[in-house]
Amino acid sequence: MTSRTRKFGGLTPQLVLLPTIVAALVYVVVFSIWTLWVSVSKSTMLPDMSFSGFGEYAALWKSHRWIVAYQNLFVFGTLYVGGSILLGTLLAILIDQRVKYEAVWRTIFLYPLAISFIVTGTVWRWIFHPQTGLGRALSDFGWIADKVDWITDRDLALYVVVFTGVWHASGFAMALILAGLRSVDADLIKAAQIDGASVPRTYRKVVLPTIWPIFVAVAVVLLQFAIKTFDLVVALTQGGPGVATTVPAIVVFDLMFQRGQIAQGAAAAVMILLALMIVLVPYALLNARRNRKDKRHG
């Protein structure tokens, strides 16, 4: 037996993994550094790799479009995450009441996740269409006299996007929270019953606090979705009216592929990455610390 076969498996694992390692290195590291470099280069329509400084970042933060986009992201992100978790919790609690046909309810609330953001946005855009959509139907039924043109209203359009996003993602929140509800020790609930807690009080003070890690996890994942939101806005409002529903991802696309300002576009992309890191890094650290604490307590 040669010494190579004696060291079992030899280098096979590493060799097999190699293509993936290379791909990941290129995809994650090289591409990111490249984009980073472009953001500080003199590129406009085509890449020009000479250093230019952080001027594009400054220009970005001075542009009205970007600032509004960032503000929109804040509003959208908060409402989207908050709304999805609230709605998801409500639905999960309802289903947790040992209702019949549970699989049916779950299927209904989760199917939006199987549908692309594009289809979601397109469909809801029709429903919110000023002349022929929801407003028309409601007034046909004799319910409201006013027109429903929220989607073309500068102040309200963003909330239409929020609504659509929550419709899409609340099923996801519901699925995870329901799993969490089910994981609570049944004895805890029995003890609360014997203690005399009503059903709402039991959920409020006993069940939900016990599964707080799940809420954090859901919030983190949804925040990620929010930061990367692009498809939904494109299909729903194209970023309009004006810049009322523009989000950073749209600005990136616009700068890179429609205005020929790839340096500034790259800068915007880096800003998106930073925003993501601000959300993910603390979460990862929190998790790592909890895992270490769990191991110590055994």
């Binding site: 498996g9 209702v99 989760l110 692309s116 419709w167």
Partner: protein, 299 residues
């Protein structure tokens, strides 16, 4: 405490019968109302695929069809004009299949092997490598658009389906490796040790031990990847154009073009075509869908 027939706890179980009935009615009522809200978009779009255009314009989107016809479906598939070509969505549908299936198969295959390696084989730096691959899951696509455009151009794959397959495969490997590795970690190490004592090598262990255990995670990967790649828009619209686009991009194209009359019914049918495959997979494999959510997202 292991009584044989221990039923799961029912919060509404004790207390007066009448109060229970009242509470349960409220629960079901709320669920039904929400279900209608959730289902309405699809139902509305579906209804509109059967109605003639003048009826839609006259009565608005949200009303019952007064007449039903299947011709708009046929038109949507084969003769609808999108962005210059009048071939309906069939071409884009085919594009998407040609993109999604290979990318799903490749990324899942790589994911299985990578997951096997990273969960069962120790070598220097394996933690770092796993971290690197996992980062690929979180990296925003915007950071990779410019470099990919450059690379695809250099490889001669600009504006081709093959280019999209490459992009999706590379990105997909991060996901599938993460899922598979976390799944394989739960396979007892002792199985591998016993196999090694029996003389099995790297590939034999994979074929005879890991692969037979993999169907649950395999299905999750396939469902997750297929749905994700089929529904993806950004890469599709950036790296391809015109007749080579996947169906999600095509839908945006015809929604945007304001020239001429909007054939809402045909567009509705096209939208349903775009949504159908992932929806179909979801309805069949829903259980695995959820499993993918809970295992992948909460890591």
């Amino acid at each position: 405490m292991a009584d044989a027939l221990h039923q799961a706890f029912d919060p509404l179980a004790t207390g007066s019968r009448r109060r229970q009935l009242g509470a349960r009615t409220i629960v079901y009522a709320i669920l039904v109302v929400f279900s209608l809200v959730y289902l309405s978009p699809i139902l509305i779009i579906l209804m509109n695929t059967f109605r003639p255009l003048d009826e839609i314009v006259r009565d608005g989107f949200i009303s019952f069809p007064k007449s039903v016809s299947l011709e708009y479906w046929i038109e949507a598939w084969g003769s609808f004009c999108i962005g210059g070509t009048c071939e309906g969505v069939s071409r884009y549908f085919t594009n998407t299949i040609l993109m999604t299936v290979p990318a799903t198969v490749l990324s899942t295959a790589f994911g299985l092997v990578n997951g096997y390696i990273l969960s069962k084989w120790r070598f220097r730096g394996d933690g770092w490598i796993f971290g690197l691959i996992t980062l690929g899951v979180f990296l925003p696509a915007q950071m990779t658009l410019l470099p990919w455009a450059f690379v695809l151009g250099k490889l001669g794959l600009s504006n081709t389906i093959a280019g999209l397959v490459l992009v999706h495969t590379v990105q997909g490997i991060s996901f599938t490796t993460l899922f598979c590795r976390n799944y394989f970690v739960s396979v007892p190490d002792d199985l591998i040790k016993a196999a090694r004592i029996d003389g099995a090598g790297f590939w034999r262990i994979f074929r005879r031990i890991m692969l037979p255990l993999s169907p649950p995670i395999l299905i999750v990967c396939v469902i997750w990847q297929f749905t994700g790649i089929w529904n993806e828009f950004l890469f599709g619209t950036v790296f391809t154009s015109g007749g080579n686009q996947p169906i999600t991009a095509a839908i945006v194209a015809f929604s945007g073009s304001g020239t001429g009359e909007r054939h809402y019914n045909v567009e509705a049918a096209s939208v349903i075509f775009a949504a159908l495959p992932p929806l179909f997979i979801y309805l069949i494999g829903g259980k695995y869908f959820v499993r993918g959510l809970t295992s992948g997202a909460v890591k």
